[in-house]
């Protein structure tokens, strides 16, 4: 096996303070304003994006993935604004994105799917086979790599989706509801993978499961009705709740307490 040589790019110092920085971000989903003025700074680590359905999680993640242009406000990724066309391509090469309802070609094998995504992400040709194998290995699909996607279960397809998101070793990894359709054992393995990825990547995971956040994330971002309701650690989230709040665990009670407080304040 050939030794992996660490390139100059990987050891280059970062010239930005935060991977993701947003100021007064407003986003539209169709005709509706889904995100109304959000200030956010996210660095390395796993950030759990929490919120009720329709809070604007998917819209926010789409904007971070640069597929949705902000209606107002500023967004900086790796300290650069994703506006200019040439700059946008460079930025996107360093982003991994798993949409909520992600589609795929049913006849592709797992390997073909991840290879195709690697090609779309403009990875150098020579690096593709090794990177694809590593990504498939990391999500635990190595033994099914050459099976067609249509033959896989929902949980495995989602893992293939995660593999395509991490194939380019992204600096920003955006996962929209990645735990949907995973069974408890897979969910635990996935949390482990998240913690591993979070050591050198800015991971943003949206979920409506408070437990995912409490166990796998180093930081919590709570949004409600398009506004930032809370940003802090999972411990802060748990501490915010009291016995009288709705929920079965400290984190859930904290979640409902913070939501209620945010709605009252308006």
């Amino acid at each position: 096996m050939a030794a992996r040589v660490v390139g100059a790019k990987e050891t280059a110092p970062a010239k930005y303070a935060w991977e993701i920085q947003a100021r007064g971000l407003r986003l539209r989903a169709g005709r509706r304003t889904a995100v109304r003025g959000v200030d956010l700074t996210l660095g390395r680590g796993v950030h759990g994006l929490l919120g009720p359905n329709g809070a604007g999680k998917t819209t926010l993640i789409r904007a971070l993935a640069t597929v949705l242009r902000p209606a107002a406000g500023e967004l900086e990724l790796f300290g650069e604004r994703p506006r200019e066309r040439a700059g946008l391509r460079g930025l996107r090469r360093r982003i991994g994105y798993l949409p909520q309802n992600f589609g795929f070609y049913r006849r592709f094998t797992v390997r073909e799917f991840v290879e195709y995504m690697a090609w779309l992400k403009e990875m150098p040709k020579g690096e593709v086979p090794g990177a694809v194998q590593r990504a498939i290995d990391r999500v635990g699909l190595a033994d099914r790599a050459d099976e067609k996607l249509k033959a896989l279960s929902g949980g495995m397809v989602r893992r293939a989706g995660i593999a395509q998101a991490i194939v380019n070793d992204p600096g920003i990894l955006l996962l929209d509801e990645p735990t949907a359709g995973l069974d408890p054992a897979q969910r635990m393995r996935f949390r482990e993978l998240l913690r591993e990825l979070g050591s050198d990547t800015c991971v943003v995971v949206s979920t409506h499961l408070v437990e995912d956040v409490a166990t796998a994330c180093g930081a919590v971002v709570l949004i409600d009705e398009g506004r930032l309701a809370f940003q802090g650690s999972p411990a802060d989230l748990a501490a915010a709740g009291t016995e009288t709040d709705l929920g079965d665990s400290p984190s859930e009670r904290g979640y409902s307490a913070l939501l209620a407080r945010h709605r009252e304040a308006k």
């Binding site: 640069t66 949705l68 909520q100 290879e115 779309l120 403009e122 090794g130």
Partner: protein, 274 residues
């Protein structure tokens, strides 16, 4: 790469392999950094290891033997020279079939007396269907994933459109030559329609724009062609500057608005996300 001539001595490497703690942390660190980038010294390291630390190399060999069955499963596929999916995707199949069907239809009706009119009417629709195939958010399940990648945008749309045209245009051209109509009759209007649907597509979505252009084209020219006007619009003296001008304007608009093809586009949320 490091300069040749600057290499670690065999003596130092031997001490390093033996785990000699008198080397000193800074020397050891420098040696390891050097070994990472110097194949000559790595080769020397391997030699020293196999000679002086046979117990160690036996242990390593045992480790590799254990790993072998796992690595046989985890072998990466060889790099591909040509990737079909770089040009056509499975989602393009329905539109591609439609384009081929219209092309065949145009050629089949080419034997009627007024072959030029039929080809003029139908041929420009063919590349527009190709455009719809290239960037179809309704039929392409991977639309959102594709749009989020660096390769998304005008270049990828044009690449896929070109793939469809390579499949369909020879058919049309051969048909027109067979029935004795110059392909120039429909080539320029076809170009204008293609560029218009792409430019319009950057505003309202490519698929919608392509369908719109097809419908408008057929509505506007169906009547004169059916009525057998004496001078066909395509062969009229004004036609070349008009089609040329329309193509130029649409092309300019497309270049200016090309960035829109890197975002999801208006109205995606209603269809796509929850």
């Amino acid at each position: 790469m490091r300069e040749t001539g600057m290499h670690a001595s065999t003596e130092l490497i031997t001490r390093y392999v033996a785990g000699d703690s008198t080397i000193g942390a800074h020397t050891e660190w420098a040696l390891e950094a050097h070994l990472e980038s110097c194949p000559v010294c790595r080769a020397r390291l391997a030699e020293v290891t196999s000679l002086s630390a046979s117990g160690m190399s036996a242990l390593v060999d045992q480790g590799w033997r254990k790993l072998a069955p796992v690595m046989a499963v985890n072998r990466p596929a060889p790099a591909r020279r040509f990737r079909v999916s770089a040009w056509v995707t499975p989602a393009m199949a329905p539109w591609l079939c439609a384009a081929v069907f219209v092309a065949l239809l145009a050629v089949a009706f080419g034997s009627v007396p007024d072959a030029g009119s039929v080809l003029f009417l139908l041929a420009p629709v063919v590349p527009v269907l190709g455009v719809a195939a290239a960037w179809s958010r309704g039929l392409d399940p991977m639309y959102e994933l594709t749009v989020s990648t660096p390769r998304a945008g005008l270049a990828l749309v044009l690449r896929r459109t070109a793939a469809v045209l390579v499949a369909v245009l020879p058919l049309l051209a051969a048909g027109s030559v067979l029935v004795g109509v110059s392909p120039l009759v429909w080539l320029l209007p076809g170009l204008a329609c293609t560029l218009t649907s792409l430019a319009l597509g950057s505003v309202i979505g490519v698929e919608r724009a392509a369908l719109g252009v097809c419908v408008v084209w057929l509505l506007v020219f169906l009547a004169p062609v059916v009525a057998r006007l004496e001078v066909l619009p395509a062969t009229a003296p004004w036609s070349v500057p008009v089609w040329g001008g329309a193509s130029f304007l649409a092309g300019a608009a497309l270049v200016a608005r090309g960035r829109a093809l890197t975002t999801l586009g208006p109205g995606f949320d209603e269809k796509g996300g929850r």
